[in-house]
Amino acid sequence: MTALSVSQRPGDPPAPRRRRARRPARGIVLNVVAVAAGLAAWTGLSASGIQGLTGPVEVAVRGAELIADGTLTADLLASLRRVFTGFALGTALAVPVGFLMGWYATARALIEPYVQFFRTIPPLAIIPLAILLMGIGETPKVFVIFLAAFLSSVVATFQGVMDVDKTLINAARVLGASDRVIFLKVVVPASTPFIIVGMRVGLGAAWGTLVAAELIAAQEGLGYRMQQAQLYYDLPTIFVGLISIGVLGLAMDRLLQLAERRLTGWQERR
């Protein structure tokens, strides 16, 4: 082969340069303003004497106490351990099962009725059954979280596999790719964005299920701590629990979002 026309053509965009898009500073300022305004409103409301509503300062003090005596850390760890175990098991099973369902019509026909059926049952409704069958230890809680994560991830994965552009598969086949290569080099990367979206939904589901599971039967964990606080009319502790749950949930979602951006930055956004 000889180089015939290496010059740049008139219609070509300029050669790409690596540049990190600058985050609009204005947005961050507005974020901070909004949070500050919210805290001020909260302070105002509690000062105006709504029955029993504690202010941010009290909550911060209680938070510091709970951190100092180790309770908050222990609760956080207990909750995180549950959610990660359930979530990891759930997605670890969901991804291969989702691929199986997307790739083989037989597997799809066999598995889909179960997935669709169990998806209509809120995972929390499984708790009574899980407790009867698995006792009141860690197992039923992890199981319910596992189920929540599995069900949302599996659907996303198999949708992703089914939606892989047939032209891409054909393009690989005409270059000589075997079924195995097509699966590993085309189907897996092409469905990654779907899988990650499924994981984000799954994590949300796992997180939501966790707290509820702990409200019902646990000896430690954020949900348990809030349940106890309710018995003793301990509002600051409840707020500390709520804020911890929110902050952790947000942090985990951001982490997955980061992974998403790294792994699926090749997507064309319209």
């Binding site: 082969m1 015939l4 053509r9 219609g11 965009p13 790409p16 990367p189 064309e268």
Partner: protein, 258 residues
């Protein structure tokens, strides 16, 4: 001249909900080695189906397709296919896209890199070798797809309306580039288009197809010398052939009745 691709009595029926749809009806067509054949015809006349069968992506219903005298059994790197929708792997850079086919063959790493680089240089994407497809214009994407096909050095190029989605200027540039490469390396090319000008400008022979059922309607020789130039495009001889092709594409009922 030896025959490279041969369609022998090829028919294809698609089962629709309640009827069978005859998409191709007994197509006989020989494409010679190193020939540049273009296929035009109304939408739905089976052009893509015919090409997909040569590519090995679709099986003929009846009849057979021979490549170098042997029946086509599935796709293979001896036939490069270029799709209208580019079909680049969006998660791979231009270079990795071009290397995709080479990775599947027992090509040593060093040679793989060189061949990919040559193909990238050939289509003028040298400065974009490490760019992702999403940063490329339509014309550049198609050049990348062409480089990917060239890299595995196929004997046959099957192109399904490859320039159909591009603007007029880009299209003309890519036509000239394609002819340049073809005149140097002389692959056999089967090129589908709905653009009569493009069909005549590129081809040794234009295959005009008709619809319902899809079939070969007429074969028109293009007795114009290569290299084809701007001048030639404006010549009366070119106009005459183009009118002939145009007429047989757009007035098929009358042409058929003769």
């Amino acid at each position: 001249m030896t025959t490279k691709i041969s369609f022998r009595g090829v028919s294809k029926t698609f089962a629709l909900k309640d009827t069978d749809f005859l998409a191709l009806d007994r197509v006989d067509l020989d494409i010679a080695d190193r020939e540049f054949v273009t296929v035009v015809g109304p939408s739905g006349c089976g052009k893509s189906t015919l090409m997909s069968m040569a590519a090995g992506l679709v099986e003929p219903g009846t009849g057979e397709i021979l490549l170098d005298g042997a029946p086509v059994a599935g796709p293979g790197p001896d036939r490069g296919v270029i799709f209208q929708q580019y079909a680049l792997f969006p998660w791979l850079t231009v270079r990795k896209n071009v290397e995709f086919g080479l990775n599947l063959a027992p090509v040593p790493a060093q040679e793989r890199r060189e061949r990919a680089q040559r193909a990238i240089d050939l289509v003028g994407l040298t400065d974009f070798a490490d760019a992702l497809p999403k940063t490329l214009s339509g014309g550049m994407k198609q050049r990348c797809a062409i480089a990917r096909a060239y890299a595995v050095n196929p004997k046959v190029l099957l192109m399904d309306e490859p320039f159909g989605a591009l603007d007029a200027l880009t299209r003309v540039q890519l036509q000239d580039q394609l002819l340049d490469t073809w005149s140097q390396e002389r692959r056999t090319v089967m090129f589908i288009t709905h653009d009569v000008d493009e069909a005549v400008y590129l081809a040794n022979r234009v295959i005009v197809m008709a619809a319902r059922p899809g079939r070969v309607h007429r074969v028109i020789d293009v007795d114009l010398p290569y290299p084809r130039t701007e001048e030639l495009r404006l010549s009366p001889e070119f106009a005459r052939i183009r009118n002939e092709v145009w007429h047989s594409v757009y007035h098929q009922t009358s042409a058929h009745a003769e």
